[in-house]
């Protein structure tokens, strides 16, 4: 069942198969939550948005047609929800202030979790967070979508309603700025920040 296509799972859920939804949810809950959480940098807002996105998926089960990948469908809803959230709350200022402690523990710990390593990692994370926050929201959006959803640039372009070249350019700028901010430390973050190696073609 795990190998089953997302679109087919969604169709089965629309026909009343609850198990199909559970598999679908299990596949995408982590990536979607990280996308929203890193975007909002506010756990409460991330929880609200996460719930809102899945509620919309559930509500649109009868209208769903597997013309595109399910991920594209899911992250388009998530993107729109986040845009609405920004408009509603004018959260730009708020976003930059909260969630400090979350970022300290947001990325997985390496195996050699010694005190000096941990301190060094905390510094790198702080720089990474600062660099990500400093990115323009469009670049951050493309970067996080690429990072968390596993979608292609063409699919991200569709979700963010821009051309593929624009999406590619935004991703390139985001990666370049993050590299600059992290300097030599970006190698330490490589297993955590997947996009920094040249993936963005």
């Amino acid at each position: 069942m795990d190998l089953e296509d997302d679109g087919e799972l969604m169709l089965r859920y629309a026909r009343g198969d609850m198990r199909a939804f559970e598999v679908l949810y299990e596949r995408h809950r982590g990536g979607l939550y990280r996308y929203l959480s890193r975007h909002t940098r506010n756990p409460e807002a991330a929880n609200d948005l996460f719930q809102e996105v899945w509620s919309k998926v559930i509500a649109s089960r009868d209208r769903y047609e597997p013309r595109a990948k399910f991920q594209t469908f899911l992250y388009r809803i998530a993107h729109n929800c986040f845009v609405d959230y920004c408009r509603r709350a004018s959260v730009r200022a708020e976003v930059s202030g909260d969630g400090e402690e979350d970022w300290q523990t947001s990325l997985p710990a390496p195996d050699d979790d010694q005190p000096d390593t941990r301190a060094e990692r905390a510094q790198v994370l702080a720089r990474y967070k600062a660099a990500l926050t400093a990115l323009p929201s469009e670049q951050r959006d493309v970067f996080l979508l690429y990072e968390e959803s596993g979608l292609t640039l063409e699919e991200i372009a569709v979700i963010t309603a821009v051309g593929p070249e624009t999406a590619k350019s935004r991703l390139r700028y985001a990666v370049s700025k993050l590299r600059q901010a992290l300097g030599a430390a970006h190698a330490a973050l490589e297993p955590m920040v997947k996009v920094i190696p040249e993936r963005g073609r």
Binding site: G16, Y33, N47, S55, S106
Partner: protein, 213 residues
């Protein structure tokens, strides 16, 4: 799903998982289950097109069949009418079927050229043609009679064996006249006319009488 006490900040909390799963379950509970099979979109139009084609074919076949039936009925009516119009006594009898090539009359006619030939300028060829028409007409009537009588009806009676063919018979009559047996010739002529009413006879009674004078 994460059910641990210490919540990972980049994973959704378990309460959120429960809420969303609960919502999803509630959404499909009580809802009418969607049909398991979804026909493709083109199925409806294809089905309609096939139905229309089959209907047209059936209507066309029925039209052809009724037309054929009407033709048969018209033919049967015509035959019945012809049979009804023809009196029993005047029905044409079929001459015996020839085996020798048509027309053998020429010899007899040449043998006994008569004065009436100028009065009746009918050639042997035309006579034969007329005879053929008469035979065909008599045959169609006989066929009609057989249709009326049904499949078990007896076949039409063949021409009596003592009656010769029309041309031969006429030759014999001419011969009788030539030999001076006028009364016999007249009698034979009368019988000939009864037997072959449609056959054109070049020498009728008046001409015979004229010749006799």
């Amino acid at each position: 799903m994460s059910g641990s006490e210490h919540h990972d900040p980049l994973e959704p909390p378990p309460e959120l998982d429960r809420i969303i799963i609960g919502k999803a379950r509630k959404a499909i509970q009580g809802a009418r289950p969607a049909p398991l099979y979804r026909a493709p979109k083109w199925a409806l139009s294809a089905g309609l097109a096939i139905t229309v084609v089959i209907s047209l074919a059936v209507v066309l076949l029925m039209g052809l069949h009724s037309k054929h039936q009407k033709e048969l009925a018209a033919r049967a009516a015509l035959i019945n009418q012809l049979v009804a119009e023809a009196p029993q006594s005047k029905r044409i009898r079929l001459p015996p079927i020839r085996t020798e090539p048509w027309p053998p009359v020429v010899a007899a006619s040449n043998k006994a050229p008569v004065a009436g030939a100028t009065a009746h300028p009918i050639t042997d060829k035309a006579r034969n043609r007329l005879a053929r028409v008469a035979v065909a007409a008599s045959r169609s009537r006989v066929e009609a009679e057989s249709i009326e009588a049904g499949p078990l009806a007896a076949p039409p009676p063949a021409a009596p064996a003592e009656r010769p063919e029309a041309s031969t018979w006429l030759g014999q009559i001419e011969k009788l006249r030539g030999e001076g047996h006028t009364a016999e010739a007249e009698q034979e002529t009368k019988r000939f006319r009864e037997t072959y009413p449609a056959y054109p006879v070049p020498h009728d009674a008046s001409s015979t009488a004229g010749r006799a004078q």
